[in-house]
Subunit: 302 residues, 2 copies
Protein backbone atom coordinates (compact mmCIF):
# COMPACT_ATOMS: atom_id res chain seq x y z
CA UNK A 1 0.00 0.00 0.00
CA UNK A 2 1.04 3.56 -0.53
CA UNK A 3 -0.22 6.70 1.08
CA UNK A 4 0.06 10.35 0.10
CA UNK A 5 3.73 11.32 0.40
CA UNK A 6 2.93 14.21 2.74
CA UNK A 7 0.53 12.32 4.99
CA UNK A 8 1.68 11.81 8.55
CA UNK A 9 -0.09 9.75 11.18
CA UNK A 10 -0.33 11.62 14.43
CA UNK A 11 0.03 8.96 17.05
CA UNK A 12 -3.01 10.19 18.99
CA UNK A 13 -5.16 8.73 16.23
CA UNK A 14 -3.80 5.34 17.34
CA UNK A 15 -4.10 6.15 21.01
CA UNK A 16 -4.13 2.58 22.26
CA UNK A 17 -1.18 1.45 20.12
CA UNK A 18 2.32 1.12 21.50
CA UNK A 19 4.99 2.92 19.53
CA UNK A 20 5.91 -0.38 17.87
CA UNK A 21 2.29 -1.04 16.94
CA UNK A 22 1.83 2.47 15.61
CA UNK A 23 4.96 2.24 13.48
CA UNK A 24 3.87 -1.13 12.10
CA UNK A 25 0.40 0.17 11.29
CA UNK A 26 1.57 3.22 9.38
CA UNK A 27 4.32 1.29 7.59
CA UNK A 28 1.74 -1.29 6.57
CA UNK A 29 -0.40 1.44 5.07
CA UNK A 30 2.48 3.03 3.20
CA UNK A 31 2.96 6.20 5.22
CA UNK A 32 6.28 8.01 5.18
CA UNK A 33 5.81 9.99 8.39
CA UNK A 34 4.57 9.85 11.95
CA UNK A 35 3.89 12.43 14.65
CA UNK A 36 4.94 10.93 17.97
CA UNK A 37 3.32 11.36 21.37
CA UNK A 38 5.17 11.57 24.61
CA UNK A 39 3.43 8.81 26.58
CA UNK A 40 4.10 5.92 24.16
CA UNK A 41 7.64 7.22 23.64
CA UNK A 42 8.29 7.40 27.36
CA UNK A 43 6.82 3.97 27.95
CA UNK A 44 9.64 2.41 25.91
CA UNK A 45 12.16 5.05 26.90
CA UNK A 46 13.62 7.74 24.67
CA UNK A 47 16.72 5.76 23.66
CA UNK A 48 14.69 2.79 22.50
CA UNK A 49 12.11 5.06 20.85
CA UNK A 50 14.77 6.84 18.79
CA UNK A 51 16.18 3.45 17.70
CA UNK A 52 12.70 2.35 16.65
CA UNK A 53 12.13 5.57 14.73
CA UNK A 54 15.53 5.29 13.03
CA UNK A 55 14.87 1.67 12.08
CA UNK A 56 11.42 2.51 10.76
CA UNK A 57 12.65 4.83 8.02
CA UNK A 58 9.76 7.16 8.85
CA UNK A 59 10.00 10.92 9.08
CA UNK A 60 9.00 12.50 12.36
CA UNK A 61 6.63 15.36 11.68
CA UNK A 62 6.02 16.60 15.25
CA UNK A 63 6.30 15.47 18.84
CA UNK A 64 3.15 15.94 20.93
CA UNK A 65 2.73 17.42 23.36
CA UNK A 66 3.87 19.70 26.14
CA UNK A 67 2.71 23.09 27.38
CA UNK A 68 0.19 23.42 30.25
CA UNK A 69 1.88 26.44 31.73
CA UNK A 70 -0.88 28.87 32.66
CA UNK A 71 -0.37 28.63 36.41
CA UNK A 72 1.25 31.39 38.45
CA UNK A 73 4.86 31.23 39.62
CA UNK A 74 5.53 28.47 42.10
CA UNK A 75 6.56 24.84 42.26
CA UNK A 76 3.84 23.67 39.88
CA UNK A 77 4.94 26.12 37.20
CA UNK A 78 8.58 25.25 37.69
CA UNK A 79 7.75 21.57 37.30
CA UNK A 80 5.79 22.32 34.14
CA UNK A 81 8.62 24.29 32.57
CA UNK A 82 11.09 21.53 33.49
CA UNK A 83 8.81 19.00 31.85
CA UNK A 84 8.63 21.17 28.75
CA UNK A 85 12.43 21.19 28.64
CA UNK A 86 12.44 17.41 28.74
CA UNK A 87 9.94 17.42 25.88
CA UNK A 88 12.25 19.70 23.90
CA UNK A 89 15.07 17.18 24.32
CA UNK A 90 12.78 14.34 23.28
CA UNK A 91 11.72 16.27 20.20
CA UNK A 92 15.28 16.92 19.12
CA UNK A 93 16.28 13.30 19.60
CA UNK A 94 13.30 11.88 17.74
CA UNK A 95 13.63 14.28 14.82
CA UNK A 96 17.33 13.50 14.57
CA UNK A 97 16.50 9.79 14.42
CA UNK A 98 13.82 10.22 11.79
CA UNK A 99 14.30 10.00 8.05
CA UNK A 100 15.40 13.09 6.08
CA UNK A 101 12.68 15.70 6.15
CA UNK A 102 11.91 15.09 9.80
CA UNK A 103 11.06 18.23 11.72
CA UNK A 104 11.96 19.01 15.29
CA UNK A 105 8.58 20.51 16.19
CA UNK A 106 7.13 20.30 19.68
CA UNK A 107 3.39 20.97 19.88
CA UNK A 108 2.32 22.99 22.92
CA UNK A 109 -1.16 23.11 24.42
CA UNK A 110 -1.34 26.12 26.69
CA UNK A 111 -3.51 24.78 29.50
CA UNK A 112 -6.76 26.19 30.81
CA UNK A 113 -7.58 28.52 33.64
CA UNK A 114 -5.89 27.46 36.87
CA UNK A 115 -8.33 25.93 39.35
CA UNK A 116 -10.46 28.59 40.97
CA UNK A 117 -9.20 31.37 38.72
CA UNK A 118 -11.23 33.66 36.48
CA UNK A 119 -8.20 35.62 35.30
CA UNK A 120 -8.15 34.72 31.63
CA UNK A 121 -6.05 37.74 30.74
CA UNK A 122 -3.45 36.72 33.31
CA UNK A 123 -3.43 33.10 32.16
CA UNK A 124 -2.81 34.23 28.62
CA UNK A 125 0.02 36.49 29.74
CA UNK A 126 1.64 33.54 31.47
CA UNK A 127 1.60 31.63 28.19
CA UNK A 128 3.65 34.44 26.67
CA UNK A 129 6.01 34.27 29.66
CA UNK A 130 6.41 30.52 29.30
CA UNK A 131 7.23 30.79 25.60
CA UNK A 132 9.88 33.39 26.39
CA UNK A 133 11.30 31.17 29.12
CA UNK A 134 11.46 28.10 26.90
CA UNK A 135 12.64 29.74 23.69
CA UNK A 136 16.36 29.67 24.58
CA UNK A 137 16.15 25.95 25.35
CA UNK A 138 14.32 25.27 22.12
CA UNK A 139 16.79 27.34 20.11
CA UNK A 140 19.73 25.55 21.67
CA UNK A 141 18.17 22.19 20.80
CA UNK A 142 17.17 23.20 17.28
CA UNK A 143 13.50 22.69 18.13
CA UNK A 144 10.54 24.76 17.00
CA UNK A 145 7.83 25.23 19.61
CA UNK A 146 4.38 25.12 18.00
CA UNK A 147 1.79 26.84 20.13
CA UNK A 148 -1.57 25.32 19.23
CA UNK A 149 -4.79 27.30 19.37
CA UNK A 150 -7.54 24.97 20.55
CA UNK A 151 -11.24 25.34 19.88
CA UNK A 152 -12.80 27.91 22.22
CA UNK A 153 -14.89 25.19 23.87
CA UNK A 154 -11.65 24.11 25.58
CA UNK A 155 -10.72 27.59 26.77
CA UNK A 156 -11.49 27.05 30.45
CA UNK A 157 -9.99 23.62 30.97
CA UNK A 158 -7.37 22.90 28.29
CA UNK A 159 -6.12 25.87 26.33
CA UNK A 160 -6.54 29.58 26.83
CA UNK A 161 -5.12 30.03 23.32
CA UNK A 162 -8.25 30.00 21.19
CA UNK A 163 -7.58 31.51 17.78
CA UNK A 164 -4.80 31.43 15.24
CA UNK A 165 -4.49 35.20 15.42
CA UNK A 166 -3.97 35.00 19.18
CA UNK A 167 -1.38 32.24 18.77
CA UNK A 168 0.49 34.37 16.26
CA UNK A 169 0.40 37.34 18.63
CA UNK A 170 1.86 35.12 21.35
CA UNK A 171 4.54 33.82 19.03
CA UNK A 172 5.42 37.26 17.67
CA UNK A 173 8.09 38.31 20.18
CA UNK A 174 10.12 35.20 19.36
CA UNK A 175 12.25 34.04 16.43
CA UNK A 176 9.96 32.19 13.98
CA UNK A 177 12.50 29.38 13.81
CA UNK A 178 11.95 28.86 17.54
CA UNK A 179 8.28 29.65 18.16
CA UNK A 180 5.65 28.88 15.56
CA UNK A 181 2.05 27.74 15.56
CA UNK A 182 0.14 24.53 14.98
CA UNK A 183 -2.66 24.95 12.46
CA UNK A 184 -5.40 22.38 13.09
CA UNK A 185 -8.59 22.38 11.06
CA UNK A 186 -10.73 20.97 13.87
CA UNK A 187 -9.89 23.83 16.19
CA UNK A 188 -9.94 26.66 13.67
CA UNK A 189 -12.46 25.94 10.91
CA UNK A 190 -15.22 28.08 12.45
CA UNK A 191 -13.12 31.26 12.72
CA UNK A 192 -14.30 33.95 10.30
CA UNK A 193 -10.73 35.27 10.21
CA UNK A 194 -8.97 31.94 9.80
CA UNK A 195 -7.98 32.13 6.16
CA UNK A 196 -6.45 35.57 6.54
CA UNK A 197 -4.68 34.40 9.69
CA UNK A 198 -3.31 31.37 7.83
CA UNK A 199 -1.90 33.77 5.24
CA UNK A 200 -0.44 35.88 8.03
CA UNK A 201 1.09 32.78 9.63
CA UNK A 202 2.75 32.03 6.35
CA UNK A 203 4.03 35.57 5.89
CA UNK A 204 5.44 35.51 9.40
CA UNK A 205 7.09 32.12 8.87
CA UNK A 206 5.19 30.55 11.76
CA UNK A 207 3.44 27.46 10.37
CA UNK A 208 5.26 24.72 12.23
CA UNK A 209 2.71 22.00 11.54
CA UNK A 210 -0.59 21.50 9.76
CA UNK A 211 -3.00 19.01 11.29
CA UNK A 212 -6.33 17.87 9.93
CA UNK A 213 -9.46 16.07 11.03
CA UNK A 214 -13.15 16.82 10.63
CA UNK A 215 -15.84 18.37 12.82
CA UNK A 216 -19.34 16.94 13.09
CA UNK A 217 -22.29 17.47 15.38
CA UNK A 218 -23.75 16.44 17.66
CA UNK A 219 -20.66 16.51 19.79
CA UNK A 220 -20.12 13.41 21.90
CA UNK A 221 -20.61 13.50 25.68
CA UNK A 222 -16.87 14.05 26.03
CA UNK A 223 -16.28 16.97 23.69
CA UNK A 224 -12.60 16.10 23.45
CA UNK A 225 -13.54 13.12 21.33
CA UNK A 226 -15.65 14.77 18.65
CA UNK A 227 -13.12 14.47 15.84
CA UNK A 228 -13.73 12.55 12.67
CA UNK A 229 -12.15 11.26 9.50
CA UNK A 230 -11.86 13.96 6.88
CA UNK A 231 -15.01 14.03 4.80
CA UNK A 232 -17.23 12.77 7.61
CA UNK A 233 -18.04 16.28 8.82
CA UNK A 234 -18.51 19.85 7.72
CA UNK A 235 -15.02 21.24 7.22
CA UNK A 236 -14.20 22.63 3.79
CA UNK A 237 -10.75 21.04 3.47
CA UNK A 238 -10.29 22.31 -0.07
CA UNK A 239 -10.42 25.96 0.98
CA UNK A 240 -8.45 25.46 4.16
CA UNK A 241 -5.69 23.38 2.63
CA UNK A 242 -5.39 25.68 -0.36
CA UNK A 243 -4.83 28.55 2.06
CA UNK A 244 -2.09 26.65 3.85
CA UNK A 245 -0.48 25.59 0.56
CA UNK A 246 -0.59 29.16 -0.68
CA UNK A 247 1.73 30.17 2.13
CA UNK A 248 4.40 27.86 0.75
CA UNK A 249 4.03 25.34 3.54
CA UNK A 250 5.11 22.03 2.12
CA UNK A 251 5.69 20.00 5.24
CA UNK A 252 3.89 16.89 6.31
CA UNK A 253 0.19 17.06 7.04
CA UNK A 254 -0.78 15.21 10.19
CA UNK A 255 -4.07 13.51 10.84
CA UNK A 256 -4.97 13.74 14.53
CA UNK A 257 -8.32 12.19 15.45
CA UNK A 258 -9.57 11.89 19.02
CA UNK A 259 -12.58 9.60 18.72
CA UNK A 260 -13.57 6.64 20.84
CA UNK A 261 -14.73 4.59 17.84
CA UNK A 262 -11.49 5.25 15.98
CA UNK A 263 -9.47 4.33 19.04
CA UNK A 264 -11.39 1.07 19.41
CA UNK A 265 -10.80 -0.02 15.81
CA UNK A 266 -7.89 -2.22 14.65
CA UNK A 267 -4.77 -0.12 14.10
CA UNK A 268 -4.26 -1.26 10.51
CA UNK A 269 -7.84 -0.35 9.65
CA UNK A 270 -7.42 3.11 11.18
CA UNK A 271 -4.23 3.68 9.21
CA UNK A 272 -5.94 2.61 6.01
CA UNK A 273 -9.08 4.69 6.57
CA UNK A 274 -7.03 7.70 7.56
CA UNK A 275 -5.03 7.45 4.33
CA UNK A 276 -8.18 6.98 2.27
CA UNK A 277 -9.99 9.94 3.81
CA UNK A 278 -6.87 12.06 3.41
CA UNK A 279 -6.60 11.09 -0.24
CA UNK A 280 -10.26 11.87 -0.85
CA UNK A 281 -10.73 15.07 1.13
CA UNK A 282 -7.36 16.74 1.68
CA UNK A 283 -4.80 15.54 -0.86
CA UNK A 284 -6.56 17.00 -3.93
CA UNK A 285 -5.54 20.42 -2.74
CA UNK A 286 -1.99 19.47 -1.78
CA UNK A 287 -0.78 17.29 -4.64
CA UNK A 288 2.77 18.49 -4.99
CA UNK A 289 5.23 15.65 -4.59
CA UNK A 290 7.90 16.66 -2.18
CA UNK A 291 11.60 16.49 -2.84
CA UNK A 292 13.54 14.07 -0.67
CA UNK A 293 15.91 16.90 0.17
CA UNK A 294 13.09 18.80 1.72
CA UNK A 295 13.98 22.16 3.20
CA UNK A 296 12.86 23.13 6.69
CA UNK A 297 10.96 26.09 5.37
CA UNK A 298 9.87 27.14 8.81
CA UNK A 299 13.51 27.75 9.65
CA UNK A 300 13.93 30.31 6.90
CA UNK A 301 11.72 32.75 8.74
CA UNK A 302 9.73 35.51 7.13
CA UNK B 1 -38.49 40.94 47.54
CA UNK B 2 -36.61 43.31 45.32
CA UNK B 3 -34.14 42.60 42.56
CA UNK B 4 -31.56 44.79 40.86
CA UNK B 5 -33.46 47.46 38.88
CA UNK B 6 -31.70 46.50 35.65
CA UNK B 7 -32.09 42.75 36.01
CA UNK B 8 -34.32 41.07 33.47
CA UNK B 9 -35.34 37.41 33.48
CA UNK B 10 -34.93 35.90 30.07
CA UNK B 11 -37.79 33.49 29.80
CA UNK B 12 -35.54 30.66 28.59
CA UNK B 13 -34.23 30.42 32.14
CA UNK B 14 -37.79 29.38 33.11
CA UNK B 15 -38.17 27.14 30.09
CA UNK B 16 -40.96 24.98 31.50
CA UNK B 17 -43.01 27.91 32.80
CA UNK B 18 -45.99 29.27 30.95
CA UNK B 19 -45.97 33.01 30.35
CA UNK B 20 -48.27 33.44 33.33
CA UNK B 21 -46.01 31.35 35.54
CA UNK B 22 -42.92 33.20 34.38
CA UNK B 23 -44.52 36.58 35.06
CA UNK B 24 -45.63 35.45 38.50
CA UNK B 25 -42.17 34.12 39.35
CA UNK B 26 -40.31 37.27 38.39
CA UNK B 27 -42.88 39.54 40.03
CA UNK B 28 -42.58 37.48 43.18
CA UNK B 29 -38.83 38.00 43.17
CA UNK B 30 -39.11 41.73 42.58
CA UNK B 31 -37.91 41.95 38.98
CA UNK B 32 -38.90 44.90 36.82
CA UNK B 33 -38.26 43.27 33.45
CA UNK B 34 -38.63 40.11 31.42
CA UNK B 35 -37.28 38.90 28.07
CA UNK B 36 -40.02 36.95 26.36
CA UNK B 37 -39.72 33.84 24.20
CA UNK B 38 -41.85 33.10 21.20
CA UNK B 39 -43.16 29.67 22.11
CA UNK B 40 -44.79 30.57 25.45
CA UNK B 41 -46.12 33.77 23.89
CA UNK B 42 -47.61 31.91 20.96
CA UNK B 43 -49.13 29.26 23.17
CA UNK B 44 -51.42 31.88 24.72
CA UNK B 45 -51.64 33.96 21.55
CA UNK B 46 -50.08 37.35 20.95
CA UNK B 47 -53.18 39.34 21.95
CA UNK B 48 -53.46 37.60 25.29
CA UNK B 49 -49.69 37.76 25.83
CA UNK B 50 -49.64 41.52 25.30
CA UNK B 51 -52.51 41.89 27.79
CA UNK B 52 -50.61 39.82 30.31
CA UNK B 53 -47.46 41.87 29.82
CA UNK B 54 -49.38 45.12 30.12
CA UNK B 55 -51.09 43.93 33.29
CA UNK B 56 -47.80 42.77 34.78
CA UNK B 57 -46.20 46.19 34.85
CA UNK B 58 -42.95 44.58 33.69
CA UNK B 59 -40.65 46.02 31.07
CA UNK B 60 -39.94 43.83 28.06
CA UNK B 61 -36.20 43.74 27.45
CA UNK B 62 -36.08 41.51 24.35
CA UNK B 63 -38.15 39.00 22.44
CA UNK B 64 -36.39 35.71 21.65
CA UNK B 65 -35.87 34.43 19.10
CA UNK B 66 -35.96 34.30 15.33
CA UNK B 67 -33.29 33.97 12.66
CA UNK B 68 -32.29 30.58 11.22
CA UNK B 69 -31.85 31.92 7.73
CA UNK B 70 -28.65 30.36 6.38
CA UNK B 71 -30.31 28.24 3.73
CA UNK B 72 -30.17 29.06 0.03
CA UNK B 73 -33.06 30.69 -1.81
CA UNK B 74 -36.14 28.53 -2.01
CA UNK B 75 -39.35 27.78 -0.14
CA UNK B 76 -37.57 27.02 3.13
CA UNK B 77 -35.81 30.38 3.10
CA UNK B 78 -38.99 32.21 2.17
CA UNK B 79 -40.79 30.51 5.06
CA UNK B 80 -37.99 31.47 7.41
CA UNK B 81 -38.07 35.12 6.40
CA UNK B 82 -41.85 35.17 6.73
CA UNK B 83 -41.53 33.73 10.21
CA UNK B 84 -38.98 36.39 11.07
CA UNK B 85 -41.46 39.03 9.95
CA UNK B 86 -44.06 37.56 12.29
CA UNK B 87 -41.48 37.71 15.07
CA UNK B 88 -40.86 41.37 14.31
CA UNK B 89 -44.56 42.07 14.73
CA UNK B 90 -44.65 40.12 17.99
CA UNK B 91 -41.67 42.09 19.26
CA UNK B 92 -43.28 45.43 18.48
CA UNK B 93 -46.53 44.43 20.17
CA UNK B 94 -44.91 43.08 23.31
CA UNK B 95 -42.61 46.06 23.73
CA UNK B 96 -45.53 48.43 23.25
CA UNK B 97 -47.42 46.58 25.96
CA UNK B 98 -44.52 46.60 28.39
CA UNK B 99 -43.81 49.22 31.01
CA UNK B 100 -41.85 52.38 30.12
CA UNK B 101 -38.28 51.47 29.24
CA UNK B 102 -39.34 48.39 27.30
CA UNK B 103 -37.25 47.76 24.21
CA UNK B 104 -38.44 46.39 20.92
CA UNK B 105 -35.45 44.11 20.38
CA UNK B 106 -35.72 40.82 18.50
CA UNK B 107 -32.82 38.42 19.11
CA UNK B 108 -31.70 36.52 16.01
CA UNK B 109 -29.76 33.27 15.96
CA UNK B 110 -28.32 32.82 12.49
CA UNK B 111 -28.66 29.07 12.05
CA UNK B 112 -25.95 26.57 11.24
CA UNK B 113 -24.71 25.09 8.01
CA UNK B 114 -27.57 23.78 5.88
CA UNK B 115 -27.75 19.98 5.87
CA UNK B 116 -25.03 18.50 3.70
CA UNK B 117 -23.29 21.83 3.14
CA UNK B 118 -19.69 22.71 3.91
CA UNK B 119 -20.02 26.24 2.53
CA UNK B 120 -19.51 28.28 5.67
CA UNK B 121 -18.60 31.40 3.72
CA UNK B 122 -21.82 31.13 1.73
CA UNK B 123 -23.92 30.53 4.84
CA UNK B 124 -22.47 33.63 6.44
CA UNK B 125 -23.18 35.66 3.32
CA UNK B 126 -26.81 34.55 3.46
CA UNK B 127 -27.04 35.92 7.01
CA UNK B 128 -26.04 39.30 5.65
CA UNK B 129 -28.66 38.94 2.92
CA UNK B 130 -31.35 38.05 5.44
CA UNK B 131 -30.57 41.05 7.61
CA UNK B 132 -30.82 43.29 4.57
CA UNK B 133 -34.12 41.68 3.62
CA UNK B 134 -35.62 42.06 7.10
CA UNK B 135 -34.28 45.52 7.93
CA UNK B 136 -37.10 47.45 6.19
CA UNK B 137 -39.71 45.43 8.08
CA UNK B 138 -37.93 45.98 11.36
CA UNK B 139 -37.55 49.69 10.69
CA UNK B 140 -41.23 50.01 9.83
CA UNK B 141 -42.19 48.28 13.06
CA UNK B 142 -39.70 50.20 15.20
CA UNK B 143 -37.89 47.00 16.08
CA UNK B 144 -34.14 46.50 16.50
CA UNK B 145 -32.84 43.17 15.19
CA UNK B 146 -30.10 41.85 17.48
CA UNK B 147 -27.87 39.39 15.69
CA UNK B 148 -26.37 37.12 18.34
CA UNK B 149 -22.93 35.59 18.00
CA UNK B 150 -23.04 32.11 19.49
CA UNK B 151 -20.12 30.18 20.91
CA UNK B 152 -18.05 28.59 18.10
CA UNK B 153 -19.02 25.12 19.31
CA UNK B 154 -22.44 25.80 17.79
CA UNK B 155 -21.09 26.98 14.44
CA UNK B 156 -22.07 23.93 12.43
CA UNK B 157 -25.55 23.32 13.78
CA UNK B 158 -26.96 26.52 15.30
CA UNK B 159 -25.18 29.73 14.41
CA UNK B 160 -22.56 30.51 11.82
CA UNK B 161 -22.10 33.87 13.56
CA UNK B 162 -19.37 33.10 16.07
CA UNK B 163 -17.73 36.29 17.30
CA UNK B 164 -18.83 39.76 18.27
CA UNK B 165 -16.55 41.23 15.64
CA UNK B 166 -18.21 39.14 12.96
CA UNK B 167 -21.68 40.11 14.20
CA UNK B 168 -20.71 43.78 14.03
CA UNK B 169 -19.39 43.31 10.50
CA UNK B 170 -22.70 41.74 9.54
CA UNK B 171 -24.66 44.54 11.17
CA UNK B 172 -22.49 47.28 9.67
CA UNK B 173 -24.35 47.88 6.39
CA UNK B 174 -27.56 48.61 8.31
CA UNK B 175 -28.83 51.47 10.45
CA UNK B 176 -27.78 50.82 14.07
CA UNK B 177 -31.33 51.59 15.18
CA UNK B 178 -32.49 48.65 13.07
CA UNK B 179 -29.70 46.06 13.26
CA UNK B 180 -27.64 45.65 16.40
CA UNK B 181 -26.00 42.79 18.26
CA UNK B 182 -26.71 40.67 21.31
CA UNK B 183 -23.76 40.54 23.70
CA UNK B 184 -23.87 37.33 25.76
CA UNK B 185 -21.10 36.47 28.19
CA UNK B 186 -21.51 32.72 27.77
CA UNK B 187 -20.87 32.87 24.04
CA UNK B 188 -18.14 35.49 24.04
CA UNK B 189 -16.07 35.27 27.23
CA UNK B 190 -13.26 33.22 25.64
CA UNK B 191 -12.61 35.66 22.76
CA UNK B 192 -9.24 37.41 23.13
CA UNK B 193 -10.72 40.37 21.24
CA UNK B 194 -14.01 40.57 23.09
CA UNK B 195 -13.41 43.64 25.24
CA UNK B 196 -12.22 45.71 22.30
CA UNK B 197 -15.18 44.47 20.26
CA UNK B 198 -17.56 45.44 23.08
CA UNK B 199 -16.06 48.92 22.93
CA UNK B 200 -16.48 48.92 19.16
CA UNK B 201 -20.09 47.78 19.53
CA UNK B 202 -20.68 50.73 21.81
CA UNK B 203 -19.01 53.20 19.48
CA UNK B 204 -21.08 51.90 16.60
CA UNK B 205 -24.32 52.10 18.62
CA UNK B 206 -25.01 48.39 18.17
CA UNK B 207 -25.50 46.94 21.67
CA UNK B 208 -29.15 45.96 21.53
CA UNK B 209 -29.06 43.66 24.55
CA UNK B 210 -26.63 42.38 27.16
CA UNK B 211 -27.19 38.84 28.41
CA UNK B 212 -25.32 37.03 31.14
CA UNK B 213 -24.78 33.55 32.48
CA UNK B 214 -21.69 31.58 33.44
CA UNK B 215 -19.52 28.95 31.75
CA UNK B 216 -18.24 25.89 33.56
CA UNK B 217 -16.64 22.64 32.54
CA UNK B 218 -17.07 19.82 32.05
CA UNK B 219 -19.76 20.59 29.52
CA UNK B 220 -22.87 18.44 29.84
CA UNK B 221 -23.65 15.75 27.28
CA UNK B 222 -25.90 18.25 25.50
CA UNK B 223 -23.59 21.23 25.10
CA UNK B 224 -26.56 23.54 24.69
CA UNK B 225 -27.28 23.16 28.38
CA UNK B 226 -23.91 24.05 29.87
CA UNK B 227 -24.94 27.42 31.25
CA UNK B 228 -24.83 28.31 34.90
CA UNK B 229 -25.75 30.90 37.47
CA UNK B 230 -23.30 33.77 37.50
CA UNK B 231 -20.50 32.99 39.91
CA UNK B 232 -20.74 29.23 39.43
CA UNK B 233 -18.23 29.23 36.57
CA UNK B 234 -15.14 30.94 35.24
CA UNK B 235 -16.38 34.14 33.62
CA UNK B 236 -14.92 37.39 34.89
CA UNK B 237 -18.18 39.34 35.05
CA UNK B 238 -16.54 42.37 36.60
CA UNK B 239 -14.31 42.97 33.58
CA UNK B 240 -16.96 42.10 31.03
CA UNK B 241 -19.72 44.15 32.60
CA UNK B 242 -17.43 47.11 33.12
CA UNK B 243 -16.62 47.03 29.42
CA UNK B 244 -20.31 47.03 28.52
CA UNK B 245 -21.06 49.80 31.02
CA UNK B 246 -18.18 51.86 29.65
CA UNK B 247 -19.94 52.02 26.29
CA UNK B 248 -22.84 53.85 27.91
CA UNK B 249 -25.17 50.87 27.67
CA UNK B 250 -27.69 51.26 30.45
CA UNK B 251 -30.42 48.92 29.33
CA UNK B 252 -31.67 45.87 31.13
CA UNK B 253 -29.30 42.97 31.65
CA UNK B 254 -30.89 39.62 30.92
CA UNK B 255 -30.04 36.35 32.56
CA UNK B 256 -30.45 33.49 30.10
CA UNK B 257 -29.54 30.06 31.49
CA UNK B 258 -30.03 26.84 29.55
CA UNK B 259 -29.48 24.15 32.15
CA UNK B 260 -31.48 21.04 32.85
CA UNK B 261 -31.15 21.38 36.63
CA UNK B 262 -32.26 25.01 36.51
CA UNK B 263 -35.20 24.09 34.30
CA UNK B 264 -36.24 21.33 36.72
CA UNK B 265 -36.25 23.62 39.77
CA UNK B 266 -39.30 25.49 41.08
CA UNK B 267 -39.79 28.74 39.17
CA UNK B 268 -39.78 30.92 42.26
CA UNK B 269 -36.51 29.40 43.41
CA UNK B 270 -34.94 30.00 40.00
CA UNK B 271 -36.07 33.62 40.02
CA UNK B 272 -34.64 34.10 43.48
CA UNK B 273 -31.31 32.40 42.76
CA UNK B 274 -30.97 34.29 39.50
CA UNK B 275 -31.46 37.59 41.31
CA UNK B 276 -29.02 36.60 44.04
CA UNK B 277 -26.29 35.50 41.65
CA UNK B 278 -26.83 38.65 39.61
CA UNK B 279 -26.52 40.79 42.71
CA UNK B 280 -23.35 39.01 43.78
CA UNK B 281 -21.51 38.62 40.49
CA UNK B 282 -22.79 41.17 38.00
CA UNK B 283 -24.51 44.06 39.75
CA UNK B 284 -21.39 45.36 41.55
CA UNK B 285 -20.13 46.58 38.22
CA UNK B 286 -23.44 48.00 37.04
CA UNK B 287 -24.83 49.84 40.05
CA UNK B 288 -26.28 52.89 38.41
CA UNK B 289 -29.94 53.22 39.20
CA UNK B 290 -31.85 53.88 36.06
CA UNK B 291 -34.21 56.72 35.51
CA UNK B 292 -37.81 55.78 34.95
CA UNK B 293 -37.79 57.90 31.82
CA UNK B 294 -35.14 55.71 30.34
CA UNK B 295 -33.98 56.63 26.87
CA UNK B 296 -33.68 54.02 24.15
CA UNK B 297 -29.98 54.67 23.76
CA UNK B 298 -29.62 52.12 21.02
CA UNK B 299 -31.88 54.25 18.87
CA UNK B 300 -29.59 57.26 19.06
CA UNK B 301 -27.02 55.54 16.90
CA UNK B 302 -23.30 56.22 16.93
Amino acid sequence: MTAHPRLSMNQATLKRATLAEAIAAVQGAGYEAIGTWREPVQSVGLAEATRMIADSGLRVSTHCRAGFFTMADGPERTASLDDNRRAIEETAALAAAGAPGSRAVLVLVAGGLPAGSRDLVGARARVADALAALAPDAAAAGVTLAIEPLHPMYCSDRAVVSTLGQALDLAAPNDPAVVGVAVDTFHLWWDPAVLEQVARAGREGRIATFQVCDWATPLPADVLLGRHYMGDGVIDFAAFTAAVEATGYDGDVEVEIFNEDVWAAPFAEVARRTAESFAAAVAPTSPRPRSVKWIHLVRLGP
